[in-house]
């Protein structure tokens, strides 16, 4: 008997939201047994959530741009037609190929896609096996390549169930009143019979192989839940308003029935394995079962996937698996590396997933190799197609037609090929979007928008707008948005999120708010995402009470969205309700454990509550969870360490600590004495970062000491490293564009607002006695924003210096500044810069 075996069971679209109540009622005892004796948790999916792409990522540990399966269909090798996606599209080695090379035996049953069968050490029953005609008289012989090895064909094909074999006994547990359904008008029973029989075929093959073969790894894939959800989720309780009541009564138990039957099949498999076998049950994504369920799908490629939810399920038990623990942060991309590690095999350095060490009782040391793709030898693979990328092969196709090697495809199939190529490229672009590789995503989308009719390019424009928004290219986003808006598309897109994001990017938050509120007013059922965005905007506009109301509405509709609770926590912080902030942050973490934003806001709340030790842990967790450096969290940890060391904490948010590579910023409103402060610092020994682009003039006879690139800081802040150890002048509205990776000591010049406005009026040749009220209000708000901003930036320390104090209490003020920047300054030289005769615009 083999030891250390692993059984991987895939339940497409299984979702804890449905499973939870069934577990509570004792209606999924087999899964409960695994949970009670092992680990469980959410399984993060990837974008786009299309099953063949996802299950191939499960099998390879790689994202679709690397493994090559990019959708539900593929273009034929000769380029003249399309077909359901096959294993031929896969260009990365799967687990079973690696096991073949390592002398392990695998059984693979129903994996999507696995046809044509690869010649591995073990048995492959491909995803073509269970697909049979509904008509008993139209059965075709089993296609070559359906099963490996060939000698298993005869015995396994007898295990296929046909839809016409399904009886009332099989149907009634799902649909108790099935006999009352008018089958002439309603074909739902046929759908159920088809899906049920196909899954029974897979299960029969799986039980046969589990019982009769010697194996190390068995993987079985079922589409029962996914397929029945696509047809029947709209009838799942609670009843949606728009659903026909009679149909609801007929079909309301089908989805639950799918889960219960899946569990029954799991129970049988558990009977067929021994105590030393590790079992994993997982899904590739969840399935929407709440108010957001779609009753009608738009005419988009793979529109059915719009109902897919971000989290699927994961449960595992086995000799080396922890007991009764919830695990967090798993992604389906982690399965292949984790399974390799289970077998003591090295993980490919080119795999995108990681080993989920937290599931193991004794995790052991992970071994790595550069790439499994580079290992020579027999991997039980199909001959690889080394021809050029079929997605970009139109020229070759035309040439082959011209040369007479292939016939010119008819108009219809030619369009199908073009459409498929576009869909696959679009999916690839979406994969890059998901990986935040915006350059590559944009490159593909720009190619796609040039595609000619009849292909509808709207969805490409939509993603192009999204890419531009992600890269802060708001004008460009506006350009593509305008084209999209005028586009003649069969699909009605909801564009208010994009429209609002563009307006916000262009610093028009009130207009953005109007767009979102207008959309919400038209939404009869309440859109939680809209409420969330409205809340975020109101928070940005310092309307914290109203933001609170919006977030609460979002949570009332969708209570299990971690980002809503995190946003609520941030808003509570602004309202100085620190306990509420901590509680909301904890709720967010409970929903998604690996959520850096929630840990960060928890740290801030705890810091405010004086719980520094736990605040530090929260910040450290936040910093650890992000793949990139979480500069704010790192700086927050440093600040707490500073506090715990007993460093003095004056009233302003500042310390006298000199930070390595700190940048001294002089800020304030225009005409508040910033140039004078720059001169003082420069003379005192902190070199000014300046290009002398603005020469001294009558308004500022001693010079401005400005630096040209500051003016476009909001577009490009990559030059800031040049300001390390120096001082730089940055006007107040631009402060929020500072790069958070650096430490800043900000000397903010305060001057009576009336004096400032008078001075500005005079500078631009206007009557200084005529005070523009609007400008006055805008400056007041600006100062308020700076106050909020500095509180939220752990890398920022800020001291307010009164312009009049510089003039009248010069020595005292210089002393204060030197203490703040934490370095020795030439105070005498600084004092010499102060020329009281220049103080001309008194209030």
């Amino acid at each position: 008997m083999k030891k250390n075996k692993l059984l991987l069971i895939g339940w497409d679209a299984a979702d804890w939201k449905i499973i939870g109540p069934l577990l509570a009622k004792g209606q999924m005892p087999a899964l409960k047994y695994i949970i009670d004796n092992g680990v469980y948790g959410n399984m993060g999916t990837m974008n786009p959530p299309f099953s063949p792409m996802l299950w191939t990522s499960v099998a390879t540990g790689k994202t679709p741009d690397k493994h090559g399966v990019l959708g539900f269909i593929e273009v034929l090798e000769n380029g003249v037609g399309v077909r359901p996606v096959t294993a031929k599209s896969r260009k990365a080695r799967a687990l079973w190929n690696i096991f073949h090379h390592e002398g392990l035996k695998s059984n693979l049953i129903g994996w999507w896609p696995s046809f044509p069968a690869e010649p591995i050490n073990g048995v492959v029953v491909t995803d073509k096996f269970q697909k049979v005609s509904l008509d008993p008289k139209k059965q075709k012989p089993m296609a070559s390549g359906t099963i490996h090895p060939k000698h298993m064909e005869q015995v396994l094909k007898e295990l296929r169930m046909f839809a016409f074999e399904v009886t009332g006994e099989h149907i009634l547990p799902f649909i108790p009143d099935a006999l009352q359904i008018d089958q002439e008008k309603d074909k739902s029973l046929t759908v159920l019979a088809k899906v049920l029989s196909e899954n029974v075929s897979i299960h029969n093959a799986a039980t046969r192989l589990l019982r009769t073969t010697d194996w190390d790894f068995t993987a079985v894939y079922y589409d029962l839940i996914d397929h029945l959800c696509h047809s029947f989720m709209k009838f799942h309780p609670p009843m949606l308003n728009r659903v026909n009541a009679k149909q609801y009564e007929f079909y309301k138990e089908v989805v639950n029935g799918a889960y219960r039957f899946q569990d029954m099949m799991l129970e049988r498999k558990l009977e067929l394995i021994d105590r030393d076998t590790t079992v994993i049950v997982m899904s590739d994504h969840g399935y929407e079962s709440g108010n957001k369920r779609l009753l009608e799908l738009p005419k988009l490629q793979a529109a059915a996937a719009m109902d897919h939810r971000q989290f699927g399920i994961f449960a595992a038990m086995g000799p080396n698996i922890k007991k009764r623990e919830k695990v967090y942060g798993l992604g389906l991309i982690d399965i292949a590396p984790t399974v390799l590690h289970h077998f003591g095999l090295p993980v490919g350095g080119d795999m995108d997933g990681k080993v989920a060490l937290e599931v193991f009782e004794n995790p052991g040391e992970i071994k790595y190799i550069e790439s499994w793709e580079k290992i020579e030898g027999d991997f039980g693979e199909l001959p690889r197609n080394h021809e050029q990328d079929l997605l970009n092969d139109e020229e070759t196709l035309e040439q082959l037609v011209a040369l007479g090697y292939i016939e010119k495809a008819d108009e219809k199939s030619e369009n199908a090929v073009r459409k498929t190529r576009c869909d696959l490229k679009h999916n690839l672009a979406r994969v890059f979007l998901g990986k935040k590789d915006y350059d590559r995503a944009k490159h593909i989308l720009l190619e796609l928008i040039d595609v000619k009719a009849p292909i509808d390019t709207s969805s490409y424009y939509l993603d192009l707008v999204n890419v531009c928004l992600e890269t802060n290219a708001f004008d460009e986003a506006q350009h593509y948005f305008d084209i999209l808006k005028d586009h003649n598309s069969s699909v009605q897109y909801t564009l208010f999120f994009q429209e609002a994001a563009i307006l916000l990017g262009k610093e028009k938050p009130l207009k953005a708010l109007k767009v979102l509120e207008g959309a919400q007013a038209q939404n009869r059922y309440g859109n939680p995402e809209l409420w969330y965005r409205i809340g975020a905007l109101k928070q940005k506009l310092l309307m914290y009470d109203e933001a609170l109301g919006a977030y609460e509405k979002a949570i009332a509709i969708e209570p299990d969205k971690a980002k809503y609770h995190a946003a609520l926590a941030e808003n509570f912080l602004e309202l100085k309700q620190y306990e509420d902030a901590a509680e909301s942050a904890l709720t967010s973490i409970e929903l998604v454990r690996y959520y850096p934003r929630a840990h960060y806001v928890l740290g801030k709340a705890l810091e405010k509550l004086g719980n520094l030790q736990h605040a530090k842990i929260a910040f450290e967790t936040a910093a650890r969870l992000t793949p990139k450096t979480f500069h704010r969290a790192e700086k927050a940890v440093e600040n707490i360490e500073n506090k715990l060391c007993g460093a003095p904490q004056p009233q302003d948010k500042n310390s006298s600590k000199f930070w390595k590579d700190q940048i001294v910023v002089v800020s304030g409103l225009p005409r508040s004495g910033t140039s004078l402060m720059m001169q003082m610092l420069h003379s005192g020994g902190i070199e000014a970062l300046t290009d002398n682009s603005r020469q001294a003039d009558r308004s500022n006879p001693k010079g401005y000491l400005e630096y040209g690139p500051v003016m476009s800081l909001h577009k490009d802040n990559s030059w800031l490293h040049q300001a390390k150890h120096k001082s730089v002048k940055i006007v107040a509205p631009l402060l929020r564009y500072l790069d958070v990776q650096y430490r800043y000591k900000i000397i903010f010049m305060n001057r009576d607002l009336t004096e400032i406005v008078k001075s500005q009026q005079k500078m631009i040749g206007k009557d200084p006695e005529n005070l523009p009220v609007k400008l006055f209000d805008a400056y007041t708000k600006q100062l308020q924003k700076v106050e909020t901003w500095k509180e939220n930036e752990p890398g920022v320390e800020l001291i307010y210096i009164n312009y009049t104090d510089v003039l009248n209490k010069t020595e005292q003020t210089i002393d204060k500044i030197a203490n703040f920047v934490g370095q020795n300054l030439d105070m005498e030289a600084m004092a010499k810069c102060v020329d009281k005769t220049l103080y001309r615009n008194k209030a």
């Binding site: 547990p173 039957f261 099949m265 129970e267």
Partner: protein, 50 residues
């Protein structure tokens, strides 16, 4: 391995002699053995009917 509780234990505890033509979900969940026996039963029943 300790077995989980059965939700349809009467059906899943398969007795080939008690399989009837209509089958059941429990029978289908049992997998290949039950399925083959069920088909055989149907076949015999059809032959008998003729």
């Amino acid at each position: 391995m300790e077995k989980p509780n059965k939700i349809l234990s009467d059906k899943i505890n398969l007795k080939i002699s008690e399989i009837n033509e209509e089958g059941s979900l429990g029978l289908l969940a049992y997998g290949d053995i039950a399925f083959v026996a069920w088909r055989e039963k149907k076949k015999q029943s059809n032959n008998h009917a003729r």
